[in-house]
């Protein structure tokens, strides 16, 4: 069914168009919205686009990194300052999907997709949104908890502090098909160290709930401790707490619960 396509040069007008029409969806790279249109999703009657250059800007020069919502995974892979995010970016799709898929769109990707968002959650990112009434910044975990209600806002950018060291950020995607495939589960951890103790541990899981979630029990097991064998065991045991995975063609909920601790142990131990 034909839809109305509205293209705006600035984000304010695009956000106003989105918030005023319940059947409007923002089109970024197309990997979610065009897929829905191809499947005949009649809940979408208007497609909104914005050609604002700010949406595709990368600011990675300082300690705080900002990625415009329209930044593609291919551009992240081309950015030397974002080397710590090359693993998450490369784990998504094939080259064509990475040329199209965007950081902002990934926030809305359902299971078994949304791997980059798992990395963003572990980095405690802030999501800049523009609504009909103005702009604001939302912590990413709060954004994800209310994701179904966020379709009326325009995501402008994602920002986060750069990890203090290359070892502080870790990422692992478990897929049955290599090098490309939907996730069985996805894990990311940010483990800032003060002296020899972890301070501000963040562990994020994908495909363990309808949206990426933080493994708060595992974070508590890591917080204030050295990353030794007993700490890793405690975190691995706690990984499954608070999760609610589903069944799909890639894995059952039972299987996901069984393996999440195994893979968190490997992630924290630095095993391949």
């Amino acid at each position: 069914m034909p839809v109305t396509v509205k293209t705006f040069t600035n984000t304010h007008d695009a956000a106003a168009a989105l918030s005023s029409d319940r059947s409007a969806r923002y089109l970024g790279g197309g990997t979610l919205v065009m897929r829905a249109l191809n499947e005949g999703d009649i809940s979408i009657s208007t497609v909104v686009r914005a050609s604002d250059q700010a949406m595709t800007r990368i600011d990675a020069s300082g300690s705080r990194i900002t990625l415009g919502a329209g930044v593609t995974f291919a551009r992240i892979l081309a950015e030397r300052d974002l080397a710590f995010l090359h693993g998450p970016a490369r784990s998504i799709g094939g080259p064509a999907v990475r040329n199209m898929g965007t950081v902002g769109g990934n926030l809305f990707a359902p299971v078994p997709y949304g791997d980059f968002t798992v990395a963003m959650l572990a980095l405690d990112a802030m999501v800049s949104v523009q609504g009909g009434l103005g702009g604001r910044e939302i912590p990413i975990d709060e954004f994800l908890q209310s994701r179904d209600r966020q379709t009326g806002v325009l995501v402008l950018a994602i920002s986060f502090a750069k990890p203090g060291s290359a070892d502080a950020f870790r990422y692992r995607k478990i897929a049955r098909i290599k090098p490309k495939g939907g996730a069985v589960i996805t894990l990311a951890a940010h483990l800032p160290v003060n002296g020899s103790r972890i301070v501000g541990a963040r562990v994020a899981l994908g495909s363990m709930a309808p949206t990426p979630i933080r493994a708060r029990a595992a974070e508590r097991a890591l917080e204030g401790r050295a990353l030794d064998a007993s700490t890793i065991s405690a975190a691995a045991t706690a990984a499954v707490e608070g999760t609610s995975p589903g069944d799909n063609a890639l894995a059952s909920a039972w299987y996901r619960r069984e393996i999440v601790g195994v893979h968190l142990r490997r992630l924290l131990s630095g095993q391949e």
Partner: protein
């Protein structure tokens, strides 16, 4: 609903068409321009057989809103041969038995061309990565990988 006029370069030739809102590029190419080389596979971005180059970059035409390519350059498999002469990649696919049913072949060739255009001498791992978004249910991939490597080592891949 009113149609939208759309102009872009198709295999080096300027074209002008009218599209319905929400039409994807694959439908525009096949049904409005008559270029049947990109195929419809999954419509979800999972199979890669609709792959085309947009401004030299590999994209999935089924997930590309046609309106977004206004003023841009689209290259499909139909445009890579030189008159009656096959592109070196096409020749290598034939020589290495890299096509069986042939349905994935247009996407495989475009993904391989995108790779060789920027990296004329790829490693095997780079070829595997380059075609990782393209599904083939016949060949087991090995003949395709060998064909891309053969085209590269032949040094005949053109920009």
């Amino acid at each position: 609903m009113a149609k939208t006029p759309l102009q872009f370069s198709h295999n080096g030739r300027d074209v002008a068409i009218f599209v319905d809102g929400g039409t994807n590029l694959l439908v525009a190419l096949r049904e409005l321009i008559g270029d049947m080389t990109p195929k419809f596979g999954c419509g979800q971005g999972g199979c890669g057989t609709c792959s085309v180059l947009i401004d030299g970059e590999l994209h999935l035409s089924c997930l590309t809103l046609a309106e977004t390519i206004a003023g841009r350059s689209v290259e499909t498999l139909d445009g890579i041969k030189d008159g009656p002469n096959l592109h070196p990649l096409q020749r290598a696919f034939a020589d290495n038995f890299a096509a069986q049913c042939g349905y994935c072949t247009p996407g495989m060739l475009m993904a391989a061309k995108a790779l060789l255009d920027r990296n004329p001498q790829p490693s095997r791992a780079e070829v595997v990565e380059a075609i990782s978004g393209n599904i083939c249910r016949c060949t087991g991939y090995e003949p395709i990988i060998n064909a891309v490597l053969a085209a590269a080592s032949g040094g005949r891949a053109r920009a």
